[in-house]
């Protein structure tokens, strides 16, 4: 047994609630010892719409994880998403106070405080503040300024923020279980932590987490987190489009999507039809395979282009050499890699959680990346390392 207590990561997704229990082993390896998973209720587009039902799901999932790992869960690390989560870069500048213009740790601490002090609309709160680059006088892209010389020190800080009430509602669900929330993090950030290699971060990479209700994205460029955010559009929209296009129930649309779906339209589907057998409340019918792929393609294409547009306006895509990594349940969609490569003009792969052991087979899929990343985040940043790294604002935000 390691000396550090295990971390329980919880993600209340739009389609699934997942909990993962991980232990820290020597060498920083994380071992997954237990997990729970259940279909979600009371969540739309990553946000809570029904506290009671969502709470019941969380209870079921945690009980499952407790049962499997023979552990008692009292506190969790919570991954949060939602279309309201956005990022901005805030630059803070201070005059160097040290003797002979030598930059000291004090100067660095001070510039961090200034860079973190961002003005947000009153209904918004900071989720994370992440250091990007320092700048000494006119010298940009400084990574470690301590000991260097200059008159003024600036710092670019990526600030992730979201609507306070919505963030709090997710925390509220967990507290109603009742379980304590130890820390919260943006789920896209967690996914990126789980799947990206150091080489990918250095070379520049975009992680796109294709969730049920939201699509999260996190972009690394020049070894720092360059942009992050979420769209309130996800796999549910794909399913809904299919249901509306063919006038079929959501459940039928869901199985059509997962069994016969494709994000690209290829010639092999021409003229083919899929028969949907009748079932209770549904008379049965057949749909054109090509039409199904067209419906899915238009939606997924639109989501990906939306992310591309956002990254373009921030001039990030030119710095993404290592390509796109897809995670989340949507990464299972047939044709998604080809479509992503076509839209971004960059290599694309499916991200799998790395640097873990234990229940690897059970947690191998891209849909577990968020929770596994959250466990890694917990071990890395929640145990007293505030001020560096991802600087979660949770304690400040939610009180304890």
């Amino acid at each position: 047994m390691s000396s550090v207590p295990p971390i329980v990561a919880l993600e209340i997704g739009t389609s699934k609630v997942i909990a993962v229990v991980g232990e820290l082993h020597e060498g920083g390896n994380v071992m997954i010892t237990s997990m729970g998973k259940h279909a979600s209720a009371g969540v739309r587009k990553g946000e809570i719409v029904d506290l009671e039902n969502a709470g019941a799901c969380v209870r079921t999932v945690l009980a499952e994880a407790e049962e499997m790992g023979k552990v008692s869960i009292r506190q969790v690390h919570l991954a949060i998403s939602g279309g309201h989560i956005q990022s901005l870069v805030n630059r803070g500048t201070v005059p160097v106070q040290g003797k002979d213009g030598e930059i000291t740790q004090e100067d660095i601490d001070q510039v961090m405080d200034v860079a973190r002090a961002v003005n947000l609309p009153p209904e918004r709160d900071v989720m994370h503040t992440i250091c990007q680059h320092f700048c000494i006088d006119d010298q940009e892209m400084v990574i470690q300024p301590e000991g260097m010389e200059g008159a003024k020190l600036s710092l670019d800080m990526l600030v992730l923020h979201g609507v306070r009430n919505r963030l709090r509602n997710t925390v509220r669900v967990v507290r109603s279980v009742p379980v304590e929330v130890q820390d919260v993090a943006f789920s896209g950030l967690c996914s990126a932590l789980a799947v990206l290699t150091p080489e990918q971060k250095a070379g520049g990479a975009v992680v796109i987490d294709l969730g049920g209700g939201t699509t999260d994205y996190v972009a690394y460029a020049n070894n720092v987190l360059a942009a992050a955010g979420a769209l309130g559009i996800g796999g549910d929209h794909v399913t809904n489009d299919i249901a509306l296009a063919f006038s079929i129930p959501i459940s039928q649309a869901e199985s059509l999507k997962s069994e016969s779906g494709n994000a690209i339209i290829d010639s092999s589907s021409t003229g083919q039809r899929i028969t949907l057998p009748p079932e209770v409340g549904f008379p049965g019918r057949s749909v054109s395979l090509r039409a199904l792929h067209t419906v899915m393609n238009t939606r997924v294409d639109e989501i990906l282009r939306m992310i591309r547009k956002r990254l373009m306006t921030e001039d990030i895509l030119h710095h993404v050499g290592a390509g796109i990594v897809l995670t989340g349940g949507g990464a299972h969609m047939k044709g998604i890699v080809t479509l992503t490569e076509k839209i971004f003009g960059l290599p694309c792969s499916i991200g799998k959680p790395r640097g873990i052991s234990g229940l690897v087979t059970a947690t191998d899929g891209p849909e577990y990346a968020t929770c596994i990343g959250m466990v890694q985040y917990g071990f890395k940043y929640s145990s007293g390392h505030r001020g560096s790294g991802f600087g979660s604002m949770f304690k400040w935000l939610f009180g304890k």
Binding site: G232, P249, I250, F282, V295
Partner: protein
């Protein structure tokens, strides 16, 4: 003459049941379409085409009497419904007013049919009194909205079928009511579409309807064997459908159709017309036609469509002089064609677009676009269904 294409459409539970009767009897006749929100209704239907609407909104369980839900369910499928009517010359919509799908969806379906270029005739039944006041109110509102969109509207109050049905159990009552109405509908369809030696067409029907201020009712009598004329006339003129002949004596215009086999004689036609014109007002307009149908061998049926004044209706317009009549008769009540299509286009934009499960959640609006609406709809990409 070009073979005219007729679609008989049953909408909602009641409407579907009636067209089911027709479907079982007139094989090889018109195309029969059943549209419902309730998948159970469709699964037992004999219609040639079945369309389930509002499956996303109602999960296939029907509307539960919610008229608004019925309307929205139909609006969601407007394109699909319109495609059903592609190439149809006449769409006969059969609807039992008072229910959710029928009452709410009927104007939408009629509009779709008009937009596809078809003439529309709507048969609407009114609920029995024992079905409750609310259903009755829904039905009255339904008539008001149908009057505006149907080229011809024929209303059959179920209450009038009571005596026709006689004393029987509830299941049989509904069954019998459906049978009577389906007979009436088939005879109207045949009247317009099948050749007889005295032809009537849709323009005549419209004239009757216009003179009635937009609403008509129908009477029906049938008999076979010896003395069939007497029996058929008796059930027609003394039956409840025309209020024991009272409707005829008050009607401003009448359309009489006599259907028989090849054994139908001129004498019989003369007898029928004499009996009816003896009852009607001297200045009322009368149209008549005959149908020769091999199915009617040794049988005779009389169908009367009469303009009727409804309490909520304005004074029926005086009958125009015959010269103008023939001119206006071929013109439908409202502008159609280009103007009609334009009408619907602007209307569609104002109506809420189908968002399915995202209907009641906060929309995802990015760059001024509502992303909850399916992409293929926003980009106007046509989907083969």
């Amino acid at each position: 003459m070009h073979e005219r294409k007729v679609s008989i459409v049953g909408l909602g539970g009641g409407g579907c049941k009636i067209v089911d009767w027709i479907a079982r009897r007139c094989t090889g006749g018109p195309s029969i379409i059943a549209i419902s929100t309730d998948s159970e209704v469709l699964s037992t239907s004999h219609a040639t085409t079945k369309l389930q609407i509002g499956s996303v909104r109602t999960t296939g369980l029907g509307t539960g009497g919610d008229v608004n839900l019925g309307r929205l369910s139909a609006e969601d499928e407007i394109e699909m419904i319109r495609s059903l009517f592609e190439g149809a010359d006449l769409v006969i919509l059969v609807v039992a007013l008072g229910g959710g799908t029928g009452t709410g969806g009927a104007p939408v379906v009629l509009n779709a049919a008009r937009n596809a270029g078809a003439l529309t005739l709507c048969f609407a039944t009114l609920p029995f009194n024992f079905e409750g006041q609310q259903k009755k109110e829904y039905a009255e509102e339904g008539i008001a909205s149908l009057k505006d969109v149907a080229d011809a509207l024929i209303v059959v109050p179920n209450e009038r079928l009571f005596e026709f049905i006689g004393v029987s159990n509830v299941a049989d009552s509904f069954e019998k009511a459906d049978e009577v109405i389906s007979d009436g509908i088939s005879s109207v369809w045949k009247l317009i579409m099948k050749p007889g030696f005295i032809n009537l067409d849709f323009a005549h029907l419209q004239t009757i309807v216009r003179n009635g201020g937009g609403v008509c009712t129908f009477g029906y009598g049938t008999a076979s064997g010896g003395g069939r004329i007497e029996s058929a006339l008796k059930s027609l003129l003394e039956g409840p459908l025309l209020e024991k002949g009272a409707v005829i004596s008050e009607a401003r215009s009448l359309l009489v159709s006599i259907a028989g086999g090849s054994d139908l004689t001129l004498k019989e036609i003369d007898d029928v017309m004499k009996a009816i014109s003896g009852k009607m007002q001297k200045d009322a307009k009368l149209f008549m036609g005959t149908i020769i149908d091999p199915d009617f061998q040794d049988k005779l049926s009389i169908t009367v469509i009469a303009s009727e004044k409804w309490s909520s209706d304005p004074e029926p317009k005086p009958v125009a002089d015959s010269g103008r009549e023939s001119e206006t008769a071929v013109k439908p009540k409202r502008g159609r064609g280009a103007a009609g299509a334009k009408d619907l286009q602007t209307k569609l934009k104002l109506e809420p677009t189908g968002k399915g499960r995202f209907n009641n959640v906060e929309p995802t609006v990015l760059d001024g676009e509502d992303f909850d609406i399916p992409t293929f709809i926003r980009r106007s990409i046509s989907i083969e269904r």
